[in-house]
Every structure is written in structure tokens, then in C-alpha cells.
């Protein structure tokens, strides 16, 4: 299955205008400075926001088409979506969170083993570390057998060591999944490590030169924008 999307949306500081596609078993990493529209793109893929104009087609199924007035609800898109910060349900323990909509509860155990959080299954989200919460969030997303996995800076709130560990676990996991994965980050190292394909997004548009400019540190007017410093810092670790 292949996900392809094109979006146009007028935002406060710029106009978003982008199109891309990502086949099964592929991880596309969307990278770019913060505030460049990456999360908006992910939210539009999930159906939580609508573009002014555009199309989302998954396999043969139309999820969104502004001309034919088709807009499939988030509920029906059958996605896995891991948010930037923890959105586990605070009233449930980790196991119940992961099993919240699981098709097969046995798989939750397997996933918990894989992510090494089985000993924490009875703990509530506020009683475990940030990395453990994000592991659980990934289990929750996978237990539903998503057709498309969206990861929006899932590790950005974690410390460097934890992030590196999770990054490696995710890379191993990627090999076992058959759905397309779209991963958002502003960390160039993470992108290079995980991506089959990289989509640099700057001010709502595809910008193929952005990575090169960032790595080579070519001094130019566009590079010295506010958020462009972050990936450079990321190169340190």
C-alpha cells in the first residue's frame, strides 16, 4: 500500500504547499525547522485538520479530496499516531493503555516484551519515565494494526541516551512492519539513521537543499532563521 498526499493550506505565517508519497515498508522522514508545518501535515494525514485544497489517497482508497468533498474521519483511517508529547490516557495503566483498542490482547504482551516494559504494565503513565511512556505509546499504536504509522517527534522530549536507544529499537521494528511509516523530526542525525527517504519541509514547502545547507553550514540569509540552529546542535551528539 502506498500513501500519497498533496496539501495546500493557508497558515498564519506562510502558505503550505506540498505533495509526497510513501510506499509500504518504507520510512519517510519529514525534517525541517520547528514551525515549518510538519505537524500540520501529519495532522492533515490523520484527519484531525483539513487542508484548504488537496488529496490524500491510501492504496486505492480516497481519504481526502477537496474537489469531491471526501473527508474520511480520523476514526476510519485506521492509523497509528504517536504524538510529540505523551498522550497516554492518565486514568489507565500502561497495559490498559496499550490494549485500549488492541485487536488481540496477546499481542500487547509481545509488544511489551519487545519494548522491555512488561514489568511496568500495572503502572500509571505518571509513574514511569518519559522514554517508557513513549514506548507504551508506540505499543498502543501498533496494537491496532495500523495501515499507516505516523510518528510526530516521538522522542524529542527525551534525553539523548534514551533517544538513541529508542531510535535503534525503532529501526529494528521498522523491518518487521509492512505499513508505510512517516516520521517527523528536526534532528538530522535521527533522519539519516532512520530514513529510507527524506522529505525536508521548510515554511510549508519541500526544500531539497535544506539538509545540505544545514550540514555544510553555508552562511546565507535563509540559514540564519530562528529554528535552523536546532539541527546543528543535534550534530553534536
Amino acid at each position: 500500500m502506498n500513501i500519497s498526499a498533496s496539501f495546500k493550506k493557508r497558515l498564519k505565517y506562510f502558505d503550505l504547499d506540498i505533495s509526497f508519497s510513501c510506499p509500504s515498508e518504507n520510512m519517510m522522514v519529514m525534517i525541517g525547522p520547528s514551525g515549518g508545518g510538519k505537524t500540520t501535515i501529519i495532522r492533515m494525514l490523520a484527519g484531525l485538520e483539513s487542508p484548504d485544497e488537496g488529496k490524500v489517497i491510501f492504496g486505492g482508497e480516497v481519504w481526502f479530496d477537496s474537489f469531491r468533498l471526501i473527508n474520511l474521519s480520523p476514526q476510519k483511517r485506521l492509523l497509528g499516531y504517536v504524538f510529540q508529547d505523551y498522550t497516554l490516557f492518565p486514568h489507565l495503566n500502561l497495559y490498559d493503555n496499550a490494549a485500549f483498542v488492541a485487536t488481540d490482547k496477546k499481542e500487547v504482551d509481545e509488544l511489551f516484551d519487545l519494548f522491555k516494559i512488561n514489568h511496568l504494565r500495572k503502572r500509571k503513565p505518571h509513574m514511569v519515565s518519559g522514554g517508557e511512556r513513549q514506548r507504551c505509546a508506540i505499543c498502543q499504536a501498533l496494537a491496532r494494526h495500523p495501515r499507516l504509522l505516523l510518528l510526530d517527534e516521538p522522542f524529542s522530549a527525551l534525553d539523548v541516551i534514551t533517544r538513541r536507544g529508542l531510535r535503534e529499537e525503532l529501526k529494528i521494528l521498522k523491518g518487521t512492519l509492512s505499513c508505510p511509516i512517516i516520521y517527523v523530526t528536526h534532528d538530522i542525525n535521527e533522519a539519516l539513521f532512520l530514513a529510507d527517504e527524506i522529505l525536508p519541509v521548510v515554511d510549508g514547502k519541500k526544500d531539497d537543499q535544506w539538509m545540505q545547507r544545514m550540514i555544510s553550514r553555508v552562511p546565507s540569509a535563509t540559514v540564519s532563521t530562528r529554528a535552523a540552529r536546532e539541527p546543528r546542535l543535534a550534530l553534536v551528539y
Binding site: P74, Y81, F89, F100
Partner: protein, 219 residues
């Protein structure tokens, strides 16, 4: 001591609390999450019983529930009896009287829930209704408990509105607060004092309960 009046009071308070929690939850949801024109007008209207003199509410209820009012007439065609001076009549009155005290704490509890939790639930495939039952309600138990206890205490103390619609029929509509008033009117200060005194431990115990519930449900 007028135990019968106490029995009616407690029965009325329990029934009112139960019905109001179920009834107020969807109203609070609409006020907390939806945007529509005229919302502030609707909200003010729902809170109106809090700002009106109880006898004024009682007066309007008397008109509406009376044999010439539309509710009273409808009731009469269905059941053949009158709605005024019955337990059901004062229950309706008590519900109207206490609506703001149920809606307001629930609305604040719902509004406090992170919108992203709801989005996460939608993405996981939950309908709005399922998300409300499985995510919103379990995460606002403190607010629900607060609403329940407030409504309970508020309906224990109802007087004017019940007297207007229900009068004082022992075992049916004569509640403890009315019993106090009647005892004083007949110069029976001892009986009035006994009933009044019994209110203190009940109300105090419930206030302690509200504190405990709020602590326990704190996540």
C-alpha cells in the same frame, strides 16, 4: 422528631442527584466542547435558577406544571393525575432548581481535559460518544463527584421552590426544611431545633466526602 420528613428529603435528594448527573453530563459536554452561535445565551439560561429567588422559580414551575400549564396538561393526559403536590412534581422542581450546580463543576472538569487526549482517542478509532464515555468521564471523576455532592446538599436545603409546587403533604412532599418551618410556625421550637440540628452532621459528612473523593480521583 419528624422522621418521615427526613425520609422524603433524603429520597428526593438521592433521586435528584442521580437524574441530574445523567442529565447534566451531556449538557456540560456541549458547553465545554462545542462552539455555536448563542452559546453564552444558552449557558446563562441554564444557570438562571442559581440567580433567581427560589420562590420565583417555584412560581413559574407552578404555572407550567399546573393543570393549565403545558407540562401539567401533558402529564394529566398520560397519567390521569395532577403533577402538583406529588413527589414526582417536587422532584422535577428540585432538578430545575439544582441544574446549575451539576452543570458547572462538570463543565469545568470536562474543559480541563487535554484536547489531545480526545484527538488520540479519535485516531484510535473511538467515536465521539465512546471517547466521552471511555476518556472524558473517567478523567473527570473528581468533577462528577463534586457535582453529585453539591446537588445532593443543595436539594437537601431546597425550601421555597418545593413549597410552591409541592405544598406540605406528609410522606409525599413534606421535606425536612418545610417541617422546620411548620414546627416554628406552631411554636414547637424543640422539634424545629431537633431537625435543624440533624442537618449539621449530614451536611458536614458530605462535605468531608467531597474532599476525599476529590483527593482519590486526583491522577
Amino acid at each position: 422528631m419528624d422522621y418521615l420528613a427526613f425520609y422524603v428529603t433524603l429520597k428526593l435528594a438521592l433521586v435528584t442527584t442521580f437524574i441530574l448527573i445523567v442529565l447534566a453530563a451531556p449538557i456540560a459536554y456541549v458547553l465545554a466542547y462545542l462552539r455555536f452561535p448563542g452559546k453564552s445565551l444558552l449557558e446563562a439560561f441554564i444557570y438562571l435558577p442559581m440567580a433567581l429567588p427560589p420562590t420565583a422559580i417555584g412560581f413559574y414551575l407552578l404555572i407550567v406544571m399546573g393543570p393549565k400549564g403545558f407540562v401539567g396538561r401533558a402529564w394529566e393526559t398520560i397519567t390521569g393525575g395532577s403533577l402538583l403536590f406529588t413527589f414526582i412534581g417536587i422532584t422535577i422542581a428540585s432538578i430545575v432548581y439544582s441544574i446549575p450546580f451539576a452543570v458547572q463543576p462538570m463543565k469545568y472538569a470536562f474543559a480541563k481535559i487535554d484536547r489531545r487526549l480526545l484527538e488520540a482517542a479519535y485516531v484510535l478509532g473511538l467515536s465521539k460518544r465512546a471517547a466521552f464515555l471511555r476518556v472524558v468521564i473517567p478523567n473527570s471523576l473528581g468533577g462528577l463527584a463534586a457535582a453529585a455532592v453539591l446537588v445532593f446538599l443543595h436539594s437537601i436545603g431546597a425550601f421555597g421552590v418545593l413549597l410552591m409546587v409541592g405544598g406540605s403533604i406528609p410522606g409525599e412532599t413534606k421535606v425536612a426544611s418545610i417541617a422546620i418551618y411548620e414546627a416554628v410556625e406552631t411554636m414547637n421550637y424543640r422539634a424545629a431545633g431537633m431537625i435543624a440540628l440533624s442537618f449539621i452532621p449530614i451536611s458536614y459528612a458530605f462535605l468531608l466526602l467531597i474532599n476525599k473523593l476529590n483527593k482519590d480521583s486526583h491522577i
